[in-house]
């Protein structure tokens, strides 16, 4: 089968009945699983898999992928409106999305998030289709040294995400790293920083912390300030900002493409996950923005970069799952199991005999993302009006959603206490201007960095730095940190000479 035949037969397969109908059925389910904090795509997949028994492979893919693809799109909605991320990667949407809602620009943020999610999903799918022959040797060359360098690259963004005070940002990042070390150390088998508490032996889940750090902190702040979430009544009361958000996404088309490709590549690399993709792309959006000073106060570029990345990641994550049987994320691991139930084995055959099925998946990613946004956009305007409700109505709602989400993520009741503690820390950080993004970035990347470092040292000693891909990533990381400083220095120098 030629490539073009596979592409068109893949599309025809998706558009036939009942595959298309099954996909239409599960897209709203995926959105709902994303919107409700603590549910997420993995739970959705686990619940839907039993319904796929007896389905043909294509029908099963449409049913499961249709749901899984749009979960993060739904997850951005509570992140923007209530500072409560629907899923882990949506935590990065909170950083700029919620301040936009506070400025009365919830509609604009929702418009930008939904449109960039859709474009990210489409670009990620195209990326998946195009990149397979090119990146296969690269992904096989990725080992612990490269993972470590990628984690370092992500951690380098702490300096950019620190806001006004670098020192406070570094301290927050340090706390995040320490939190990521809580629990069993896989290298030594020692349980660290659990202080004898059984509940901490498995570590602390990121959603538990994010809900406290953002949602609960916001509840406390709202209760103190009163009024409404949106501090202004003038701007977006009719929800007209949705169109502005859509326009913003197309204005920043180059950022959408860049973050989608970065998201796709991170998805392609097993073990890094959606949280890392979202935060690394947030850092990239911040680093490349001409309006750096607006970041942290509600900058639409921060929303666009993050939302494009986490949907693009799904396309990238499918590649190693299908090509090598190596799932790119926990969701993909569940999908891999489902593929096997449906009688499809990953490997070389997927790209020879079953190429039309691979392209069907690409089309499912594209079509599901478009349908999800078509379903959500009409509601974005009315939803944005929620931010103009009184805090006495909003506080119980956010508190219930946040605490319930924290519990449902792990089903450990003790986690709600951890959430409450991080609520207090988050409020303190907000009040005394400690950036919360670096703390989350530290949690996301800390464990990956430590494990990869130990394994790299065991395997190669300090020479691991000079492995080709690791060294290239190191150079990019140094460039990421040093270039803005050099640019700033040159700007000052030129200004002085001009005087």
């Amino acid at each position: 089968m030629s490539l073009w035949d596979a592409i068109w037969s893949g599309l025809a397969g998706v558009l036939t009945w009942p595959a298309f109908g099954l996909m239409l059925l599960t897209i709203p389910i995926g959105l709902i699983f994303g919107i409700i904090p603590g549910m997420g795509g993995n739970m959705g997949l686990a619940l839907l898999i039993p319904f796929t028994f007896g389905m043909k492979p294509l029908e099963g893919f449409a049913f499961l992928l249709g749901m899984h693809t749009v979960v993060h799109t739904g997850g951005s909605i509570p992140a923007i409106l209530f500072d409560t991320p629907g899923t882990g990667p949506n935590a990065a949407t909170c950083i700029e999305g919620f301040p936009m809602a506070q400025k009365g620009e919830a509609g604009r943020a929702l418009g930008a998030a939904l449109t960039s999610s859709m474009l990210g999903g489409i670009i990620g799918a195209i990326f998946m289709a195009l990149i397979i022959p090119v990146l296969r040797p690269v992904v096989l060359a990725f080992g612990p040294p490269e993972f470590f360098m990628l984690a370092m690259m992500g951690l380098a963004f702490i300096s950019l995400m620190s806001g006004k005070s670098l020192l406070k940002g570094l301290m927050a990042g340090g706390m995040g790293l320490i939190i990521s070390f809580v629990g069993m150390d896989p290298q030594t088998g020692i349980v660290r920083f659990s202080f004898g508490l059984l509940q901490l032996m498995d570590g602390i889940n990121i959603v538990t912390i994010v809900v406290g750090l953002f949602a609960l902190a916001e509840v406390i702040d709202m209760a103190i300030k009163g009024g409404t979430i949106a501090h202004t009544k003038s701007a977006d009361i009719k929800g007209t900002g949705v169109w502005q958000g859509i326009k913003d996404t197309f204005t920043h088309w180059w950022l959408v493409i860049r973050t989608s490709i970065i998201g796709g590549i991170i998805g392609f690399i097993p073990g890094l996950g959606g949280d890392a993709a979202a935060f690394i792309c947030y850092g990239h959006a911040l680093q490349t923005s001409k309006r750096k000073e607006e970041f942290g106060k509600g900058c639409v570029e921060g929303v666009i970069g993050v939302d494009a990345a986490h949907n693009a990641k799904e396309g990238g994550a499918l590649i190693p799952t299908l090509a090598f049987g190596v799932p790119g994320s926990s969701g993909m691991a569940i999908l891999l199991g489902a593929f096997m139930i449906l009688g499809v084995s990953p490997g070389k055959e997927m790209f020879t005999q079953n190429l039309n099925l691979v392209f069907s998946m690409v089309w499912i990613l594209v079509i599901a993302n478009i349908i999800a946004v078509i379903l959500c956009l009409p509601f974005a305007g009315p939803l944005s009006k929620i931010t103009f409700l009184r805090t006495s109505v909003m506080i119980p709602f956010i508190l219930v959603c946040g605490i319930l989400g924290s519990y449902l993520t792990t089903s450990r009741i003790s986690d709600i206490i951890i959430t409450a503690i991080f609520g207090l820390i988050g409020y303190g950080m907000k009040r005394f201007d400690y950036a919360r993004g670096p703390l989350i970035l530290g949690i996301v990347l800390g464990k990956i960095a430590e494990n990869a470092l130990h394994i790299s040292l065991n395997l190669y000693g300090l020479k691991f730095i000079f492995r080709p891909i690791a060294f290239i990533i190191l150079v990019i990381t140094l460039g990421t940190v040093l270039y803005p400083a050099y640019k700033e220095h040159m700007k000052k120098k030129l200004a002085e000479e001009g005087r």
Binding site: I32, I36, M39, M43, L47, G163, K164, S165, L167, K168, L170, M171, G174, M175, L177, I178, F181, D185, Q187, T188, I190, R192, F193, F195, L216, V219, I220, A223, I224, K225, G226, R390, S392, V393, I395, P396, F397, L399, V400, I403, L404, Y407, L408, S411, I413, I416, I417, A420, G423, L424, G428, R431, F432, D433, A449, E450, L453, H454
Partner: protein, 163 residues
Amino acid sequence: MKLQNRHYFSLFWVLFFLVIIVTSLGYSYKARLIPLVVSIPCFIFAVYRFYVELRTKEEENATAEGGHKSKKEKIDPVVRRKRFIRIILWILFFLALIFAVGFLYAIPIFVLSYMRANKESWALSVLCAGGMTAAIYLAFIVGTRSTLYEGIFIPLIRQALQQ
């Protein structure tokens, strides 16, 4: 000199990293290496920040780099403290309710009491409490068949009723 909230919060960071350093020292070399590499510089930063906070006056701090926004927000500190304590007590009340009677009963009780305490109408309070409980019941108990935490007393009551 009277310590203010910002001093206490700076001190929290100092103590946090100090506890981490002391705890790390009890682990094997491999297990403590990275935590110490992270926590020692962070401890130094935290001590420096605490020193800076001690030396900075409130007015200077509000405008200085990294200073908080208390001046801009214009909320009377006494009112702020009262509201802070009030919301913390509400959160604790909600958590205590969950531990006592579980999510399905804690949610309507909390929503109703919070909204009524904040002078919302009975109709709206009942509507929100009932609506939220119904949505959670439908989504989790009926839809996904999840087991929500039932608290300490509900299983005991059920057991007593069965006997």
